[in-house]
């Protein structure tokens, strides 16, 4: 499936494994249901990633995070925004691996996904066919500044910019 990162089309180093049998796939992406089993079978050089339904509670996932290099969160429909909060929770826990949104997202969600902590978007073929990467990159930049603090928009947060402007010109009248 087509994969995007913040700069456009990306190569996917991950291979989906059918079940828990990950053999010696270097980067094995397994389903949530077989994660524990797969981790038991992990070889020293292997990295493991998990594809989770967006209904999984963060508390269930937390203990696995130190052993994962990728968390892919399924988006059953683009209007189902649970993944944005899940990604946020995963980043807050200090996860430094790749977080991927997997599903029929639309380009207009790209900036939100990146802000919430996603690194990549994996699209179904049909979605990707209708939405060329140029649309994603254009949509990514729709807003030059955003209002919400703490969402990975370094230098582009409006409240922070206002504060910086106040600090730079404290004597200026309103």
């Amino acid at each position: 499936m087509p994969l995007l990162d913040r700069n456009g089309n990306a190569a996917d180093r991950w291979t989906r494994s059918e079940g828990a049998a990950i053999g010696n796939i270097p980067a094995a992406l397994v389903r949530w249901e077989v994660l524990a089993e797969a981790l038991d079978a992990q070889e020293p050089e292997q990295v493991i990633g998990v594809l989770i339904p967006n209904s999984v509670a963060f508390a269930e996932l937390a203990s696995f995070l130190p052993r994962l290099a990728l968390v892919a969160i399924a988006f059953p429909a683009y209007a189902d925004g649970r993944g944005f909060s899940l990604a946020r929770q995963i980043r807050r826990a200090g996860f430094a691996g790749e977080i991927r949104a997997s599903g029929p997202l639309v380009a207009d969600q790209f900036a939100y996904a990146l802000s919430c902590g996603f690194d990549t978007i994996e699209l179904p073929e049909a979605s990707a066919a209708r939405q060329p990467v140029e649309q994603w990159l254009h949509a990514r930049d729709a807003f030059s500044h955003t209002y919400q603090r703490g969402y990975r928009a370094a230098g582009r947060n409006i409240l922070d910019r206002r504060r910086a402007a106040r600090a730079a010109a404290p004597a200026a009248g309103r």
Binding site: Y78, F84, D108, Q131, Y147, R149, R166
Partner: protein
């Protein structure tokens, strides 16, 4: 009122460009209708029965004359010369073309307005007390809070794809004029009993619609500086745990109901405890920057009683009655808050023509420090009127057909557009409102009845707020004809209550009789000075139900 800085200005312009691009991608097939629909809803573009509808945000109901004139212009140039003010303080145009919406958005951006998030499964327009800044019982003006929340919720990366719509309201007075208990989040500014600092009481899980519920208090005293972090905690719990399997069970009120207010509060507080406030909240300087825009205007020093006004009242009884009914006491001596009724007989409740908008804009500019408000009752307010100017204002309103003296009375009906316009509706509401207005046209009789809030919804979505009407009317369909269910005892104030059904649905032509009988019970049973809703609370529903059955029998 708030004025955009360069960031706010750039943001709305970028939103216009974004929507224009979204329309282009819809037309060239990059986006399917299923993908485009939520995007257009997030820009207030509905598809209704006859045409598209555009819902323009009027943040916490505050406008200036320049903005209102621009709305009048848009109504003439791109619509059919009128707009409809809604129960969430917004304005709707009923006939825009999608192809024109980008241009309309540009005109709105020219006057610091937009249609951002006036629909869709996201945080909607934040509403507030329409007497903010002027009411005598006010503890603190709720609008700086509302403006802060407006900015924080705009294009929120995490909370733009919620299970369902999300409505926030803020009040800063003892009385609740913002219906906060029927909102997903209701905020009330209050004083902390120990420190006497203002802080927030936070309620969650109010909402009308198919399963009406009153909001539950989750936090009694939230320090002001923690506002955004606490809201983030609530939204995260809802975004993750709100139901997504059933559209009619997807509001946060259902989640609160299903897990219980105590458990919901526990989850919110647990999430809040994990948040780093300083990295999320607005700093005190930003809060102060916003608040400064809502500083009181330069009021004149006036006597509490205006001789000019008293003389005009004495010589003109119609004017005197209008003053008595449509004005509200003001914090500042010599001033008054004037409500302009958009409920004259013969017009759809809440509608105003472009000419009328211009008339009000002129009055606001000249007589109200260039400020006006929209109320959730679909009326307009001039918040800072000198008592001595009331007479000349009344005359000019009369010329514009806006001098109806019925604010809060039986003909001041709240009504959604209903099946005459709305694709979601099951029945018409406007003709019902007009029939009731006609039946109760006599002004003396209206004043004799006193305060009585009738609210009409054309479907179960309850945009007319019928659940919290003293008398509520819900339009449904029964066997291929429109059928109206009457409820009684609802209350939209701090004494929030959901009305109870009186009996089976009525045909349209039976509704005015039913209202007459209900009013008749009240008039016969009331004690001295007792209002309709107080009477209902005192004597209960039984006498009204009996009278209602009478109507059903008479009609059969």
């Amino acid at each position: 009122m708030y004025r955009y800085d360069e960031f706010d200005e750039r943001f709305v312009r970028e939103r216009v460009a974004q929507f224009t691009d979204q329309v282009a991608r819809r037309l060239d097939g990059s986006l399917t209708e299923d993908e485009f629909k939520p995007l257009r809803l997030k820009n207030g573009v509905y598809l209704q029965l006859h045409a598209y509808m555009l819902r323009i945000a009027i943040p916490y109901g505050t406008l200036n004359s320049r903005q209102l004139r621009q709305l009048a212009l848009i109504g003439e140039k791109y619509d059919r010369g009128y707009g409809h003010f809604t129960t969430r303080q917004n304005l709707q145009f009923n006939w825009p073309k999608l192809r024109d919406v980008p241009e309309i958005l540009g005109l709105l951006a020219d006057v610091e307005m937009h249609c951002i998030q006036t629909s869709g499964n996201c945080i909607r327009n934040v509403t507030a007390d329409h007497f903010a800044g002027v009411a005598r019982d006010e503890i603190e003006d709720p609008r700086p809070t509302a403006e802060l929340i407006r900015q924080w919720s705009s294009a929120h990366p995490e909370f733009s794809y919620l299970p369902r719509k999300f409505k926030i309201a803020v009040t800063g007075a003892e009385a609740d004029r913002a219906v906060i208990k029927a909102h997903d989040i209701g905020l009330r500014l209050r004083r902390h009993p120990d420190t006497h600092e203002t802080c927030y009481e936070i309620s969650v899980g109010g909402g009308l619609g198919r399963t009406p519920m009153i909001g539950k208090v989750v936090r009694d005293y939230l320090p002001k500086q923690d506002l955004l972090a606490y809201l983030e905690a609530i939204m995260r719990v809802y975004n993750l745990e709100g139901r997504r399997d059933n559209k009619y069970k997807a509001r946060v009120k259902i989640l609160v109901h299903e897990i219980g207010a105590e458990e919901f509060t526990r989850r919110v507080e647990a999430e809040f405890a994990l948040l780093d406030g300083p990295s999320i909240n607005a700093d005190p300087e930003e809060v102060a920057r916003i608040a400064a825009y809502f500083a009181p205007p330069r009021y004149d020093v006036l006597p509490a009683v205006s001789n000019t006004l008293e003389a005009a009242k004495a010589s003109n009884p119609a004017f005197a009655r209008w003053v008595e009914v449509n004005t509200t006491p003001h914090k500042i001596p010599g001033y008054t808050a004037l409500t302009i009724s958009l409920k004259p007989q013969g017009q759809a409740p809440g509608d105003a023509t472009s000419e009328q908008m211009r008339a009000v804009a002129d009055l606001a500019e000249r007589y109200s420090f260039d400020e006006l408000r929209v109320t959730h009752a679909q009326n307009l307010v001039l918040p800072h009127v000198r008592q001595r100017d009331l007479y000349v204002i009344w005359q000019q309103l009369g010329e514009a057909g806006l001098a109806t003296a019925n604010v809060g009375l039986v003909t001041d009906i709240i009504s959604c557009p209903g099946l005459d316009y709305c694709a979601l509706a099951t029945a018409r509401s406007i003709p019902i409102a007009q029939a009731i207005q006609s039946r109760f046209a006599d002004e003396a009789r209206q004043r004799e009845i006193g305060p009585l809030g009738i609210k009409i919804s054309g479907c179960i979505n309850a945009c007319g707020h019928h659940h919290v009407g003293h008398i509520g009317i819900l339009g449904l369909e029964k066997r291929g004809i429109e059928s109206y269910q009457i409820t009684l005892g609802g209350d939209a104030t701090e004494n929030a209550a959901i009305g109870e059904i009186l009996g089976p649905g009525l045909a349209a032509e039976e509704v005015p009789d039913a209202i007459e009988r209900i009013v008749g019970v009240y008039l016969a049973a009331r004690s001295e000075g007792e209002s309709f809703i107080d009477n209902v609370r005192r004597i209960g529903l039984a006498p009204f139900k009996a009278a209602f059955q009478e109507t059903a029998r008479a009609a059969a």
